[in-house]
């Protein structure tokens, strides 16, 4: 082979058109510099270390990279960085809270997944939980779970325990009055 390796790694260039982007992630103001078309998932995982968001396909089919962008579930593999200028993002890392002793308190959807067997291999789980948390928050009816979560693929569970997990969380959310809107209004 005529091409011999170079022992020193090349310096990674910052692309000429890189832009400074300011947004809020999990309640914290963040700023980063990125090429405008850099995928949001790469910004989150590689640049900001938020590796809870997973990549399953890169083509917006599997939903493993789901996050909330201005309160709506989106596939972060299909969002160019430039489109989150000024936006408010929530990733799986932003769902749990801390109690007065600084102990992690699971989000009700996370708790439901734990108790009802919603997570198996765990790779689809963050995207699934983020989308489900949005469902609970927006007070959508429990019967709509399969429709609302159809954009999140899972290969382990056959979905049944995910459905029961989310339905339990939706019902608990309604009982606790956590939801933004009355049930039934999409």
């Amino acid at each position: 082979m005529s091409h011999s390796p170079h022992s020193q790694p090349p310096v990674r260039p910052v692309p000429a058109g890189a832009v400074r982007i300011a947004c809020t992630i999990n309640g914290q103001a963040r700023e980063f510099v990125a090429a405008p078309m850099r995928r949001l998932i790469d910004v989150l995982r590689d640049d900001l270390g938020l590796v809870g968001t997973k990549e399953g396909c890169g083509e917006g089919e599997c939903g493993a990279c789901s996050i909330l962008l201005d309160g709506q579930p989106v596939n972060s593999c299909l969002i160019p960085a430039i489109q989150v200028q000024g936006a408010n993002l929530t990733t799986i890392e932003g769902l749990a809270s801390r109690d007065t002793f600084n102990k992690t308190v699971l989000h009700p959807v996370q708790q439901a997944f734990l108790e009802h067997g919603g997570a198996q291999c765990g790779i689809c789980t963050p995207g699934m939980i983020v989308t489900a948390a949005w469902m609970v928050q927006t007070g959508q009816p429990a019967a709509d779970v399969p429709k609302v979560l159809a954009g999140n693929l899972c290969r382990c569970t056959g979905y049944a325990h995910i459905v029961t997990s989310v339905q339990a969380a939706v019902e608990a959310g309604q009982a606790a009055g956590l939801t933004e809107r009355p049930a039934g209004e999409a």
Binding site: A35, M37, R39, Q72, I79, L149, G151
Partner: protein
């Protein structure tokens, strides 16, 4: 590579039109981008990318509205801003009441995450022959509002496509809105069906968006729009002509097959077969006629 693409992000419409017209002049036009649900997939699969892009996400205050036009009058049509998403439209009660065709189509575009980002205008401009939003709009006689620094013009959606993945938009123009005329709102006989590879997250294998009103027992002012049956979303002229002024009892499945063959030459591809598409489209149309009969 994506890293090398030039992207501009105007924050006013005037800026946007200025940038578009400049770029049109220097021969390397800006490609507008909205929800990016198609663009980013193409980029991922290494398909050829436009060199320069114009991100519209800074124009939300101008282009994201859903409003009645020309004023707040119940007798007029609906205007969807170019950045209106499927999720946004689905939250409008009127859509479910008077534009069931559009509501049904919007509800199965991709799934939740795609509906939150995908826009009607992006779907129109992307010009996929299997588009989900376009057929319903076309059957409802939607008009595309194009604007540039030089002014505004309106093009009927069924005249918007000039070939496979080609539209009549000039490179200095931007789709600013899609208008659904008042005659279409609440129009009887709206029928829609997408046959996809699965319930959600599916690309259409064959689909039909139709408006099949009856006047004195006969079909009149019909719209029959075919999805994934031709190089672009298409109104079936022969079929529409055949149906016009006919009564239900005068129409057979064999006749439909024959008329459809005049309008459409579906193909085999990775998702389905030409024979399946042709036969199922005929069956869908027959079903539509039956189910919309008074």
């Amino acid at each position: 590579m994506l890293a090398d693409l030039e992207v501009v992000r105007p924050t006013t419409l005037a800026q946007a039109f200025g940038l578009l017209s400049l770029s049109a002049q220097d021969g390397e036009p800006l490609r507008p981008m909205a929800g990016c649900t198609d663009l980013m997939v193409d980029a991922h699969f290494g398909k050829p990318m436009p060199k320069r892009l114009m991100d519209l996400s800074g124009l939300g205050k101008d282009l994201k509205k859903i409003e009645w036009f020309p004023g707040d009058n119940a007798d007029v049509g609906l205007r969807l801003g170019a950045l209106c998403t499927y999720a946004q439209a689905l939250a409008e009660p009127i859509l479910h009441r008077d534009l069931s065709l559009l509501a049904q189509a919007s509800a199965v575009v991709g799934a939740t995450q795609i509906q939150a980002r995908g826009t009607f205008a992006g779907n129109v401009e992307n010009a996929s022959p299997a588009a989900d939003g376009v057929p319903a709009l076309m059957a409802l006689d939607a008009v595309i509002v194009l604007q540039s620094a030089a002014g505004q013009r309106r093009v009927a959606l069924d005249h918007y496509y000039s070939g496979y993945r080609q539209t009549v938009r000039r490179s200095d123009e931007l789709i600013v809105a899609i208008e659904i005329p008042s005659q279409s709102i609440g129009k009887p006989g709206q029928w829609w069906r997408k046959v996809g590879t699965r319930s959600y997250q599916a690309i259409t294998k064959v689909g039909l968006a139709a408006v099949l009103p009856r006047k004195d027992g006969q079909l009149s002012d019909v719209r029959v729009v075919a999805v994934a049956m031709a190089p672009s979303i298409l109104r079936c002229q022969h079929v529409e002509q055949f149906l016009t002024a006919r009564a239900q009892a005068q129409i057979s499945l064999d006749q439909l097959r024959a008329e459809i063959a005049k309008d459409l030459k579906p193909i085999d591809d990775i998702r389905s077969k030409a024979t399946y598409r042709a036969e199922v489209f005929a069956r869908l149309l027959e079903q539509a006629l039956r189910q919309t009969a008074p």
